[in-house]
């Protein structure tokens, strides 16, 4: 069998070639699909590899010393005291801080103490008990008194807090003086003084309104708000002292 016969044989072998149904455009479309599928597969592969590498590498990179954990825990505790603090502990803490601040500002006062409790349970001159309903959201409001004794006798300041603020215009209704001042942390102070129809100031109120709407109100009266008696000629502390107590940076209200 010569080379020529092999050549002719191969040419004859393809004589019954079936018709060719070939579409270059279809082939190009399939190629593009294949290319995009390959890209997607590579992307998924890379993402999976990154996740796996991160999962194994990150625990080794993060610090795991006990000291660091303690520092982090302390930071968390100081930055968010209210998240773990019980309502009773919070009211005691705030009451003690207010009393301490008042004693600092007015050193001549005696028997300065505070009784603050969670919820709006104190009404001027009387007291009601309305415990929070079980299962309801924690009530951030507080109420209570800061007791003090001066040269005239014992009296008290009324403290109330609420998360439902009133407009500053409402705070000023009936006031003989009313002024609003900003505080560095974004909250504001509204100072108001009220007369009883004469020229005597019978009530001074300092209200601190936080950006969240949380409102703290500290009031001084010419009577003892805890008993409704003990009338005196002038307020036991001025509205400036009330404002100083409310803006003490060491008291964490919210």
């Amino acid at each position: 069998m010569s080379e020529q016969e092999i050549r002719e044989g191969m040419l004859l072998a393809v004589w019954d070639e079936p018709p060719l149904d070939f579409d270059p455009d279809a082939l190009m479309r399939r190629a593009e699909q294949k290319k995009s599928r390959r890209r997607a597969l590579v992307s998924v592969g890379v993402a999976t590899a990154l996740i796996v590498v991160s999962a194994f590498a990150l625990p080794g990179l993060l610090p795991k010393t006990g000291d660091d954990d303690q520092i982090a825990a302390r930071r968390t505790e100081s930055s968010a005291p209210t998240s773990t603090e019980s309502p009773n502990a919070r009211s005691v803490r705030i009451g003690d801080a207010l009393a301490a601040k008042l004693q600092t500002v007015r050193r001549e006062l005696r028997d300065v103490s505070a009784y603050v409790q969670p919820g709006m349970q104190v009404v001027q001159g009387t007291s009601t008990t309305k415990p929070p309903s079980p299962g309801s959201a924690p009530d951030p409001s507080l109420s209570g008194y800061v007791y003090l004794t001066d040269d005239i006798g014992p009296t008290a300041l009324l403290l109330t807090t609420t998360s439902t603020p009133k407009s500053s215009r409402l705070e000023c209704i009936g006031a003989v003086t009313c002024k609003e001042m900003p505080v560095d942390d974004g909250s504001k102070i509204i100072e108001a003084e009220y007369l009883d129809g004469t020229s005597t100031v019978v009530r001074a109120v300092s209200t601190r309104v936080f950006e969240s709407g949380y409102t703290v109100k500290l009031s001084a009266f010419t009577t003892n708000p805890a008993t409704g008696s003990g009338l005196r000629a002038q307020l036991p502390v001025s509205v400036d002292v009330l404002t100083t107590m409310l803006t003490d940076g060491r008291i964490r209200w919210e």
Partner: protein, 177 residues
């Protein structure tokens, strides 16, 4: 891909698809597999078209891709799965169709029986040299080997093919030329 490149590939594929399929048929001995091989090769070329469109001899590159695609396919396990058993039922009857001359039938036998029994690389050398009429140097480029290897593979392939054809002729009563 830009429109101009797409048009260039479209023209190349349309012009060479048939000849590539014929070559693939002589490699594998089956028109369906040959069409698959041709399309796979052209798809590979399309994906690399930006890089290869400037080559001097694109059809030589296409033959090289086709040959490697076929050799790769042969290595795949599922390609080895088909086991033929007995005579093929669709053999042509020359009495029915006058065009089916004995020479043509013998040529088909040459491909189906003799050429397919030649080892793959020797078969590829024979097809490229005697069907595609390529020189030894061109076959060496397509095969990715030296010219000496092409010559030795050709000699061995021819010897193997002749032995098989002689056996076929003696079994069928045809006189070997």
């Amino acid at each position: 891909m830009r429109k101009a490149d797409e048009q260039g590939f479209r023209e190349f594929a349309a012009a060479n698809a048939a000849s590539l399929r014929r070559t693939a048929y002589l490699f594998c001995g089956d028109w369906h597999t040959a069409e698959d091989l041709m399309q796979s090769s052209l798809m590979k070329m399309y994906l690399a078209w930006k890089r290869i469109k400037g080559l001097d001899n694109l059809i030589a590159y296409a033959r090289k891709v086709l040959l490697r695609t076929w050799l790769d396919e042969k290595r795949r396990p599922w390609r080895r799965a088909e086991q033929r058993d007995g005579e093929l039922p669709d053999a042509a009857d020359e009495r029915v169709d006058p065009d089916h001359t004995s020479a043509k039938l013998w040529a088909r036998e040459l491909v189906h029986t003799a050429l397919l029994q030649v080892p793959p690389r020797q078969r590829a050398v024979l097809v490229l040299r005697y069907f595609e009429d390529l020189s030894v140097a061109e076959v060496a480029v397509a095969m990715g080997c030296s010219e000496g290897t092409v010559k030795s593979q050709t000699a061995r392939g021819l010897a193997t093919l002749r032995t098989i054809v002689e056996k076929l002729d003696s079994s069928s009563g045809r006189v070997a030329s």
